[in-house]
């Protein structure tokens, strides 16, 4: 297989981008682990990331995260199959429920993160 096969069509390109989302997400989560670890330094040694570079990095990661979320949750209609009274639930409804779950979870988590902040 040629090295640059994934640049031939948009479909291949976005497939590789989807697989690549793991890299920025993993890096951001490792930062998150560091943020927890910094709490072990005590009140004088703790400092959260605040640099412009970190915010720019987070914006880029957010774009990849949103791409991962939309592509992954859209697959739910293909993977998940449910029946109610022997009638299959339409795949669109299953996908919609996954996006609904994402929205509700995001609102709850954002509320907790902000409510307990100062």
């Amino acid at each position: 297989m040629a090295l640059g096969w994934w640049t031939r069509t948009a479909h291949y390109f976005w497939y590789i981008v989807r697989e690549f989302t793991a890299v920025p997400l993993a890096l951001w989560m490792l930062w998150f682990v560091v943020e927890i670890q910094r709490a072990q330094n005590g009140p004088k040694g703790y400092y959260p990331h605040s640099s412009t570079g970190f915010v720019i990095f987070s914006v880029i990661v957010l774009l990849f995260a949103l791409y991962h979320s939309t592509t992954f949750l859209s697959l739910a209609g293909v993977i998940l199959h449910f029946k109610v009274f022997d009638r299959p639930i339409p795949s669109r409804l299953i996908v919609l429920s996954q996006f609904g779950l994402w929205l509700v979870a995001s609102v709850v988590i954002a509320f907790v993160l902000v409510y307990f902040g100062r």
Partner: protein
């Protein structure tokens, strides 16, 4: 673990990146990790510890799988082999163990 990690990454990670990575550092909203006292206080909650373990550890099994197949797709056949599996999935196990240790030793419960 690939699917579960993928769902957890899809549902939970974007809001953390948005709030803790962008809105908090820009000072748009107050966020729990911006100050030591609020951060250590919430890290001491056992439900939060359990949540953070799932949030951090589960996606890494998904990431390991995707990265391995990304390398295969990009023409690195060695990524199919057992050593690569040990490295990638072993890495996810290491992140899990480190996170458990971190959560148990940061704002310990006992």
């Amino acid at each position: 673990m690939f699917a579960q990690g993928g769902v957890i990454a899809a549902v939970l990670i974007p809001v953390h990146v948005l709030v803790q990575g962008i809105l908090g550092p820009l000072g748009i909203v107050p966020v729990v990790d911006r100050h030591y006292d609020t951060w250590i206080s919430i890290l001491g909650n056992p439900i939060v510890k359990l949540y953070l373990l799932v949030l951090i550890a589960a996606p890494f099994y998904h990431f390991a799988h995707r990265l391995r197949y990304l390398l295969v797709d990009l023409g690195v056949p060695a990524a199919k082999g057992v050593p690569a599996q040990v490295i990638f999935y072993g890495g996810a196990v290491l992140v899990t163990l480190f996170t458990i240790w971190l959560l148990l030793t940061t704002a310990p419960l006992f």
